[in-house]
Each structure stands twice: as C-alpha cells, then as structure tokens.
Point group: D2
Chain length 336, copies 4
C-alpha cells in the first residue's frame, strides 16, 4: 500500500510517499481501506517534530480518516466487510475518563496514522459513518468534530438559550459553530479577516468580531450579551487570547482549553478566575462514546463539515503547508 511517511528526521521536507506491505488483520482486528483523511494542526506539529520530538520514526502521520472495512480477523463481530467506518483517534479510549494508557493510543503518533491506503485497528477502535456523509466528509470528524462536541456538550454543558464564543475559523471552531446551532445556542465568532467573518455569519454565527480592529474584544462580547458575558469560550488561541476570554466569560462560566495557536503559555489573572468562579477545562478530543453521540447529533441535523480544500494523498505536504499558512476556513482534506 502507499503511505505518507516521516522518515529519518522531522520536517515538512522529510515527508515522503512510499510503499509499505499491506496489513493483515489478526484476531479481533480490522483492516480499513481508507478513502479520505483530513488534517489537524496536531499533524503539522508532529511532522515538524514540535509535538513529540522523541516520537520514533518512521511514522505514518494523520489523525483522521474514513473508509470501508476491507478485511476482518477471527472473532470480529462489531463490524463486517464493506461497512463504512472511521478509526477513532485514541484507539483505546472507548468511554469514561481518559488515562495515560488511553491517551497514548492515538493515531498519527505514537501509532501509525491515516495518511495511507490502509490501516489495521482493533474492532473496538472504529465507529460507523452516518450514511448521508461522504468519505471525505466523514474523514473530517475524528479529531476536530469530537473535540468540538466535548468542548460544547460533554464538558461545556452548552444548552439552548446560552451563548458561546468561538475563536477563529479553523476546523474545530467551524464544527463548534454548527454544533452550537444544533444545540439551540448562539455563537459569537472572532477572526482577524473580515471575509472569514462574513463566511461565519453565512454559516449562522449570531455575531462576529474582528480582533485586530478590537483587541479588547472581551468587553465588546460582554456588551453583546447584555452585560452578562458568554456561558462558554472555546479557547483555541491560548497565550494570546486567554485574557480576553476571561473578560468575555460570565460569572460561573467555562473556558474550554483546546489549542495554543497564539502561544503555549499565558499570563493568567488568577483573581478573575476565582472571584468569578470561572472554570478552565482542558479538552483532549474524546472517547468512542463521544464520537457516537456526535454522530447521532450530526445525523439528526444532517450537518456537513465545512471543507476548505482537498488534496490528493501524494500532495500531503502541500496540504500541510496550506494549513501552516493559516489561510484556510474549516477543514483541509486528503483523498486517498
């Protein structure tokens, strides 16, 4: 099978497309013929060696993928050949709380990932694809959509009538925008580009704001919500945005900590956290149970991922460079 590999050393320029032996399913295992993958910022960090410099190489990158069951090992009952499935990101995290063993079972490092024609996983490490979604659309779900679901629902407790603040227009934020509407909540979207804000409005954002034009956007958000503040912030910026997120959130509100696009450390104003009883909750994608709950939601609401551009597998490097440019809106896909 063909597969993208990080070989020898990290770096976008070390990415190669090569041949690997076709995998065979052992007992309880399943080989999936991948038809599509999608990119996450994590994949870019991984290829560059910034995610985990001690990751052994070679490695097939890619956290997200979708395809169909090509072969099953003995004893497999959860899926059948021909089923359309997504591998889950953390292969051992089926339900409940994460623990180190569950968190170490992720695709695209330490385990080989989805930028390949085939992948072999346990029968437990799969979810069925909602039938109305294409392979490419389904390949956008495992990290970004599950993360958005956990940020909003499992940990965020977002419900109808509430308001959520979303930062930027990347994959997680655009899923969060769609999920927020399905949940009956209002979403405020920030970006530094007016064209992206217009696009977010078309997708249903209740309000948008340009953080370049309004660097103190926390106060503006407060005004938009009648002085109350938002119930939830989905924090993807990290270092550069947390102070404004704290200003924007209501007394007793929550901040879902997801990304560190603008800095991996932040000055945190502790008195504001404790005097206003704010919760900061780290989010780390989610379990198979969360993914299946997400899929029920998507199906009921017939939600389709927002896809920016799609590249063929052989151009994975170009796809990652496009992500690195920050110009995308929504998810970047790979066809396999």
């Amino acid at each position: 099978m063909r597969a993208v590999e990080i070989r020898g050393a990290f770096g976008l320029d070390r990415l190669r497309v090569g041949e690997r032996p076709d995998p065979k399913p052992g007992p309880g295992e399943v080989v999936v013929r991948l038809r599509a993958a999608s990119l996450n910022y994590r994949d870019l960090l991984m290829v560059r060696g910034h995610y985990n410099p001690r990751q052994p190489l070679p490695l097939i990158p890619g956290s997200d993928g979708a395809g169909e069951v090509q072969a099953i090992g003995s004893g497999v009952t959860r899926v059948a050949v021909g089923d359309r499935v997504c591998p889950i990101f953390a292969q051992r995290w089926l339900g409940g709380e994460p623990d180190p063993r569950r968190l170490r079972s992720t695709l695209g490092g330490p385990l080989n990932g989805t930028f390949a024609e085939q992948i072999v996983v346990s029968e437990e490490g799969l979810v069925a694809i909602p039938s109305y979604l294409s392979d490419l659309e389904a390949a956008c779900l495992p990290c970004a959509a599950v993360t958005a679901y956990n940020a909003l629902v499992t940990e965020g407790g977002l419900t109808a009538g509430q308001t959520v603040l979303l930062q930027g227009t990347g994959g997680v934020s655009m899923f969060a925008l769609q999920l927020a509407q399905a949940l009956g909540a209002r979403a405020i979207v920030t970006s530094s580009q007016d064209t992206k804000l217009e696009h977010a409005s078309q997708l249903g954002a209740w309000a948008v704001l340009n953080y370049d034009q309004e660097p103190q956007w926390g106060q503006r958000v407060k005004k938009l919500t009648g002085g109350r503040g938002v119930d939830l912030v989905v924090e993807v910026g990290g270092g550069g945005t947390l102070a404004q997120s704290l200003a924007a959130v209501r007394v007793g509100g929550r901040i879902a900590m997801i990304g560190v696009l603008s800095g991996a450390t932040s000055e945190l104003a502790l008195t504001s956290v404790l005097m206003r009883r704010v919760r900061l909750q780290g989010i780390m994608v989610g379990s198979r149970d969360s993914f299946e709950a997400l899929n029920r939601l998507l199906e009921v609401h017939q939600i389709r991922p927002v896809i920016d551009r799609t590249y063929p597998l052989d151009e994975a490097r170009a796809a990652l460079e496009w992500m690195a440019s920050g110009s995308h809106f929504g998810k970047i896909g790979l066809t396999i």
Copy 2:
C-alpha cells in the same frame, strides 16, 4: 453597640473601635448578638484597601461570625430568639450557582461585617450552629470551612480512596485536611516550616513536604502517588505554586483555585492543561445550602476547627497583624 470600623481611609492604622446605634430588625430580619468572629485573608486585604479600593467607608470589616438570635422582626419563622446561628458570607446566595447579585451581598464589604457586637440580616441569611461547637469554633466556619467544602466536595468531587494536595497550613487548608479525612481521602500538605508540617501530620496528613527544601515538589508528589498524581489540588498560593500544582495533578485531575497568597498572576503552561485534560476551577466560598451540608458533615464527624490564637474584639488590629505575619496555623479568632 461596639464595632470595629475602617474610617476615613484604608490601612491597618485606620482601624478604630467605636460605638454605633444598636440595630433593630425590620420585617423578615433578625438581629444577631455576635459572640465571636474569625479572620480571613480577605479581611486583611479589605482593611488595607487592596480588596476593593472603591469600597465606601466607614465599613465594619469581618466576614465570619457566630452568636445568638437577639431579636426577630415580623414574619420571621426560620429562627427564634435564642437560636445559635452564623450569618452566611454571601447573604443572598442561598443555593444554586452564584451570580453577580449574589456575589455582591457579602459581609465585611460591601455589607457591614462581623467585627461588632451585633449584626442585622435577613432571616434567610443564617444557618444553625451544630450544638457541639462553641461560638468561637462556629465563627471559624462561614468562609474558610465552606470554601474548603466546596473545593473538596461540590466542585472537587473528592471521594474515598482519592488523594488531595493542600498548600500551607492556613484556615482553608486545615479545614480541607479535616474534611479530606472525613471523606476517606488522603491529604498531602506542603509548608516551608517543618514545625507546621509536624503539626499537620499530627492532624492526620498522609504525607507532608517542605517546599523550600523541595522547590520542584510536583514531581515528588507524583512519586508519592505511585506515578499517578493527585486527584485534586487546593491551590491557595496562586502565582508561585500553580506550575508545581500542574505537575502534581493526575491526568483528568482538578485544581481548585482559591487563593493568590504568592502572586495574583501566573504563567500557565497551557499544553499541560489541555493534553492532560486538567480542570482549573475558581472557588468563591459557597451558598447557604453548602454551609448546611458542611454542618451535617462536621456534626457526624464531630470536627472542631483548628484555632491558632484568639484576640478580644478591641485588638482586631493586632489579630490582623498576626495574620499578616503568616505565622499562624489554622484560624485566628476574635471574642466579642
């Protein structure tokens, strides 16, 4: 009645003991003859003008007190003359989540507080004192013990078999030490003074450690817990301790943000929060419902507050200076 007052301007040297007219209960109101009060770090900040520089003066400081019902207004049914009661800290926060109006109803600023012979409050703003406790002991509960209860139980979810890390040996931490044991959990206590650590051990700490001798105590805590990390940290240090707290807490663990003794801002390592799904939860004392749940716990376990020194009301300034010195272990009381 006699009352301690901040008059004219903030500052420990502006604290005066003066006479005020005796309060009368309006309909639905209760006059409490206070017999004891206790100090919180908040009171020290308030007197110094660091808590809220815009607080109108004069103000009777004091967040915590205990006494007996001296007079009731018309329509009062929840208490009777002679009942032993504590005023609750946030007078309007009876149950549920806090909101700005509830959080603005606190004694010792903006409302007049407990460093006085009498106080008038709504009949709703009181809890009954467990009968086995003295007035002085009861006067230690409203802020520190309710805060510890919410940090451990309501927000912390601490349960039997788990481990909690407590910082220092002040009022909140020593209540937390006692509550942790009642909950069946193990407590690790930190301090810079070995005599205080010995004292904490005698009070039941499962392990203790001197953070001056071990500035990287986070790793040590991890070892103590078999590599797992603690389930909960009660963070009172703030800026100077949060990094070690993050190192000490387990994957999926919680940090209850209570105090900022060592700094009001902190560098926060965001990746550690999100990759390990840690929760930072601001804690702001608690509701009347929490206080009553705490009292049931205290009574079943016959827990008595750890009291350091007691001063007469007239020496409130000396008491606050003793607190400022940081030499105390547990609560500092006032007899009235």
Copy 3:
C-alpha cells in the same frame, strides 16, 4: 381587589369571585397587578380538595400568573414599579435543591394564588418577563414551562441528537415539544386523538402515535428509534403508562416523573429498571434559577406558549371544567 376563592368547602361549585382588601407591600415586598393567569391540573385537584384536603380555607387558587409591579416596599432593589413580572411558583425556591421549606411555599396553596387582581410577594419571588411575550403568554410559564424545562434540561440532560417521548398534548407536554426542538432533539408525541396528533405534528413533533390504536406503543417507539429506545420519557400519565414508558426507553435512559393523570400508583417492573439501568426521576416544577434559564432559552428562540382557550377571571370555574374535560390542547388562560 377581586379574587376567586375556595370558600367554606372544596368543590368546583364552591368557587366564588369576591372582593378582598388591596394588599400593601411590606419592606422587601412587591405588589403585582396581575393581568393574566393560567390553569394547571394541580389547580383543579386543589379546588376539588384532592390535592391537600387539609389546606385551610378560604384560599385564592392559581399557581401561574403574570402582570406588572404596582408598588414596592422599602428596601426593594430587584424590581421597580412598572416592571413586567411573573411570580414564581415556589416562592422560596430560588436555586439549588428543593427542601421541605422551599416546597411548602407554593402559590395557589398553601399560599394564596394568582386568580386575583393583585398578589403580594417577596421581591425575591419574581422573574422578569421576556419582552416579546404578552401577559397571557407569560402567565403560562411558571408551572408548566418550568416543569418541562427541568424534565428535559436540568434533570433529563436532553441534548441535540437525542429523542424524547412526550405523553399527551397538555400544557407541560406542549412546552416540552417546543423546548425539545430548541434543544435540537426529536420528540415523539402520544395521544388518543388523531386531531391532536396532527396538531402536534404541525408544531414539530418528529413522530406521533395514537395509544388507543397501539396500546403496546413501547415496542413501536423502540422500532422508530432503530431499536435503541428513547433517551428520555416525560411521564405524565402515571399508573396507566409507566409500563409502556419502560419499554420505550433505552438502556441507561431516563423517565421524568411529572404527572399521574391516569393513576397515582403503578405496578413497576423492577428487573427492567435495574437490568437496563433506567433512572426514574421525580420532577417538582423548579427554582427561580431554572425559570430564568428557561426565559433566556425562550427569548433566543422566540417561543410562544400554545394556548387553547382563554376565559375572563370571573369564569374561572368554566375554565377549570374545560380542563377537567380533557379536551384542551396546550394551556388554558385567564384574563384579569
């Protein structure tokens, strides 16, 4: 002021409209000029003496009402004259969990209720009316809509992508139908009358079924949900329906116990409850905090109550008889 009263003895035929002295607000109290009220099944039980036969008489019935603040007592800050408000049903249940004292503070028994031109309550016992609602619409909220909100959200945890079963087409069920849609969930509605089912479909029910034609509707519901069962049942029937509700709910699902229209006791198949880890949760309207959360939801979604018929205050008896007939769809109103 004019008021409906149960005088001398219970019974629909003992309902009289009489004159009472206008109430005056004491300190902390508010007089509301009621403009509308609405009926609940509880009011019918109360008038008939079936709700609490020991309730002292005379009593002004009526749990739900809406109007404007006419006068305020000293110290009132939460509302001002002219504000449009609803009295909350359990006057002392502001937030958190219910307790006996909170549950004994309900309007329309033991306290005088809303079938009157004026009512005097504590300033704490009110919520602001969303501005887009008429008085009559707002008067439908305090019991039925708050009950539906707690059944679905606070206790039911219903979220987008899930399915809820609603019994009948009374006030609670029709609010639940509207709320379920705002939450992004699917609602299945049962009734014995096809015209009501058609109406429910027009209001957005995902599926409907006639329980007269399909007495074993539990199995049918299971099929409708692909064999999974519904996530939540809002049980208003009680004795006559619980067995089917158990058949309809999924493994790990919930049944919100609200009403006993078809019987106050039920044979409960215990093995089905425990082997499938079902939760039965009694629901008792809700707190002021819940009412305010509901109002934010209603406003964001511009939801208007489903009102069946409206009677003038003087015809309260006719209104109650109409309710007793079971012919209504949604709420029955009174204009005052």
Copy 4:
C-alpha cells in the same frame, strides 16, 4: 481443566463438575488460573433457569473470580504472567455508560464463568488485585463490591455526613456498609434477625432495625434522621420493600435499585416520587473504571470483604443451596 457446568437443563441438581480442555490465549488474550470464586444471587437464578431461560447450555456459571495470569497471547501489554488479577464481570464495559453490547458480555452467562480452574479473557477484561487481599477476598469483589460502589458513589453521590439505608446483610449490603464508613457516611441496616443486626453493628452500622418487629420501618428511619430522611437507600428487596424505602428517603433523595429478593414487581406510589423529587436509579454492577476506583478505595482503607462460608469448587451446589437458604451474612466463597 476442571469446571462446574450446567448441562442439559437448568436446575441445581443439573450442576456437574467435569473436565474441559485447557484454554489457550489468542492474540490480545490472557488465560487466568483461577484460585477462588464467590457466589452472587444472580448465579443461583442462572442455575435455576430463572435469570435467562434461553441461555444456551452447557454453561460454566460464576460471575466472580480471582487468580493469576498463567499465559498471555501475542500483543498483550496490560498484564504479565504471574500478575494477580480479577476478570471483570461485564467484559466489554471498560468505562462510560453501559449499552446493550457491553451488558451482554457478562461472565457466568452468556459467557462462560468463573466456577472453573481457568478462564480466557481479553487483556482489557481484567483488573489488578490490591496486594493486601487474598485470592478469596479478591474473588468477592467483581459483582457485589462494584455494585455497592456504583450504588453509593457513582450513582448515589453519597458523601461524608450523609446517611444511607442498607437492606439485609448479603454481599452487596455488607460491602455497602464498609464503603459507607470509608466515605464518612452513616449506615442504617435492616434485617429480620437480631443476630445479624448485632453483627452489622459490630461492623460499624450507625443504627440497625428489625423489619419483622417494625414493618413500617420507613417512619422509624425518618425519626432516626431527625425527620429529614436518609439521603440514599440501597434497595435490594424490591417488591416487598420499596414502599418503606420511599417513606424513609428524604426530599430530593435517591433509591439505588439493585435487587428483587422480595418480589420482581412493586406497587409504586407515584405522587410520593414526584412531589418529593425522589430519584430511583437502576444499578447494573459497573465498568472496569469503577472497579479500579473501588480498588483504590479498598487499598487506602484496607477493607476486607465479609466472608460467610467457603466451599471447595466441587461443592458449588452445596454453596448455592446455602445461599438459597438466606442464612448467610456477607459473601459465600469457593476455593479452586
């Protein structure tokens, strides 16, 4: 290997001890050399054919066991040969919520169980045994102790200062008695035999009562708790006890539905459930995550199971007959 089997037809008299081929571990699988097992009421129902009359035979019964890892298949990393382990009851329920597939993976039916010298399971279907426990003690945990843990902690939310009512002195109830004390809660134990009540008192019951002498024990429990009622009831009686449990539980309290010893159906007084906002929660043992949390609790508190009698494997039938007699106190063990 030797194994107890239900052969040909159900019935205690059809239980045979026979020889079966030794199991071999496939990839990802583990063979455990069982050293002890314990009995649950479920096993008795299974052997008699009352649990699931359509269960295919032959079947090795037995839900609980303990032993050491004898052999591992390829790819196994979670355990090593020689590790002391317990198989978990529902082999596929590792964490999170139960679903039909997880609930169908239970030992002792439909899967072969623990009344045998060896068992083969997935490496995921095991937990480590706390080192201070003997094999026999560990063999008491998988059903009864995990059930008690979920009834009290996961679903019951029992915490320090609260009170729980426990019915009878069987395995689940005696674990619950020990766990309640570790949690800092008070336990009230019921039985029809005074000698058992004395024993329960020695084990730390806060109060005991003989339900034969006091058939209306609900009222008595209310008095014992100062009129408040208990926070939680662990309901093992079912049909014969639920009415008294409802009388004993406080407003807003919970009833954990575990067993049906005195009847599989019950008249349920619905108004009492809804007017007092009571929750009835079905409990179905629990997940591997729960088992591991339980083990941490047991180890910190050095709790040892209460074991009544122990039989050799060959006398499994006599052991089950002893259970059927209802004379036991705590768990009945098998040595293998």
